[in-house]
């Protein structure tokens, strides 16, 4: 699988660049994940605020709720949850689609037409995941804030303006940019792992379900592992981002 990942990287910058394919895969990844990410972001936003509220109110610190909400979403909840959702939705579908193409000889057919199937099928999917992940994460963050605001408004009728001001007072760019960009790595994991299982399967029709399942399980695990490492690295490089 490591070799497979290296091969992806080696092939990204080789002509032809497959821009059409990348563009259409970005559309696929985005369209498949957007509703899921939006709904989860809103729901998590509401729930998070319910939790922080019950704690902070006892300390008389309810004005901190928006800030806590934005920090927790920007720094960890947004990136990690978005990545896990995408790995479930997109990872499974990439695994199944490629495994199906393998089982029905469509990948062989591409090769027989003297098209490089790896460059044509795998590389654009990985690149699309890398590019779309940070966008989806940002979207998740804002859905989380929106959910938080709705929940807070229901409780205390806090105005949107005040909510936004409070949400962003204690937040630095370094709380937002590095954690969001780290999701590009998650995207790489999702694209590479699921393409690997789909593209390399050799078990015919039964392999399709297995490829989908393995894609999700392995990419979710690797995402969480990578998160640990990336958080460490971000703290090293941007000490001020530690909350």
């Amino acid at each position: 699988m490591t070799l497979f990942g290296l091969k992806v990287i080696a092939n990204v910058f080789r002509f032809p660049f497959e821009l059409d394919q990348i563009w259409s895969q970005m559309g696929e990844v985005g369209a498949r994940s957007l509703p899921l990410v939006a709904a989860s972001g809103l729901a998590l936003g509401v729930v998070m605020t319910l939790h922080t509220r019950s704690t902070l109110v006892t300390f008389g610190a309810s004005s901190m709720i928006p800030e806590l909400q934005s920090l927790s979403f920007f720094v960890e909840i947004g990136p990690l949850v978005a990545a896990l959702l995408v790995s479930g939705r997109v990872g499974a579908s990439i695994g199944a689609v490629l495994a199906n193409m393998r089982a029905t000889e469509q990948i062989d057919a591409i090769e027989a037409l003297s098209i490089d199937s790896f460059k044509f099928l795998v590389v654009p999917r990985v690149v699309a995941c890398v590019l779309v992940m940070p966008l989806l994460t940002t979207f998740m963050d804002f859905c989380g804030l929106l959910g938080g605001f709705v929940s807070e408004y229901a409780m205390s009728h806090l105005s949107l303006q005040l909510y936004v001001t409070r949400a962003f007072t204690g937040v630095e760019w370094s709380n937002f940019i590095p954690p969001t960009l780290k999701t590009a790595v998650f995207g790489f994991i999702i694209g590479t792992v699921s393409s690997f299982f789909g593209y390399s399967t050799n078990e015919g029709a039964e392999g399709i379900g297995r490829a989908a399942t393995s894609s999700v399980v392995v990419s979710s695990l690797l995402i969480i592992l990578a998160d640990v490492i990336l958080v460490k690295i971000i703290f090293l490089v941007f000490p001020e981002s530690a909350i």
């Binding site: 591409i110 090769e111 003297s114």
Partner: protein, 247 residues
């Protein structure tokens, strides 16, 4: 005449196994330029595997496979692409791209591998689809086509580059007699008009006799017989006689 110049495809002591299962054992034969060879044999004897070896979708465990002057078992990916460009392949399963319309199935290779204009591509697509009788089905998705139509669509896709070599896996399985004989006509036309070298895997002796110059009979992974239909009718191997004889 020089023999190598006249040989389009040559298998030289080719063996192939999958895991413990040996599929092809020491198979050697060659196909001359412009010749049509029909490969006959019972199901599961390795006919499809033989075709896939010829376009390097599979690698043999032993032996050499040459297309014109190139030993394709040794080629780098770029060189291999060059060789494959002269070949057309019809898969037994047709293997159409199921996310693309019939039109786009044919347009994809043309758009990617040639610098032909949009209009030129449309002309080619209309032409080959007309040849296989699917001119009215351009906009359909593969799932909307019957098995026989998928087969013909696969054949159309194999023809878009006007290949010098056609490798065809069971062109008429799942087709009615009339359509099957139309496909035979098309193959025959490829041979006489374009002098296309062909290897055709088929169970249809009728088709084999019309189109094939020689028959290669595979039995349990070995080349059991090779020769003209007349020569093979009195072959000592009973399987060969049964496969070749007109039922």
């Amino acid at each position: 005449m020089n023999e190598t110049q006249d040989t389009a495809i040559a298998l030289d002591h080719v063996s192939k196994s999958f895991g413990k299962k040996q599929v092809l054992r020491d198979v050697s034969f060659s196909v001359a330029r412009g010749e049509a060879i029909c490969v006959l044999g019972r199901s599961g004897t390795g006919k499809s595997v033989t075709l896939k070896l010829m376009i390097a979708l599979l690698k043999p465990d032993a032996g050499r496979i040459s297309i014109d002057e190139d030993d394709i078992t040794q080629l780098e990916r770029k060189e291999l692409s060059r060789v494959r460009r002269k070949m057309g392949f019809l898969f037994q399963s047709a293997a159409l791209f199921d996310s693309l319309t019939l039109h786009d199935n044919l347009a994809l290779p043309l758009r990617r591998l040639t610098d032909k204009s949009k209009q030129e591509i449309e002309v080619i697509i209309d032409h080959v689809l007309g040849q296989v009788g699917l001119a009215d089905d351009k906009g359909k998705m593969p799932v909307e086509l019957s098995g026989g139509m998928q087969k013909r669509a696969g054949l159309a896709r194999a023809l878009v580059f006007e290949p010098q070599i056609l490798l065809i896996d069971e062109p008429s399985s799942g087709l009615d007699r009339i359509t099957a004989s139309e496909i035979d006509d098309l193959l025959l036309e490829q041979k006489t008009k374009h002098h296309t070298t062909m290897v055709i895997v088929t169970h249809d002796v009728h088709c084999a006799r019309r189109v094939g110059d020689r028959f290669a009979v595979l039995d349990q992974g070995r080349l059991a017989a090779l020769g003209t239909p007349q020569e093979l009718e009195h072959h000592e191997n009973e399987t060969v006689r049964m496969l070749v004889g007109e039922s």
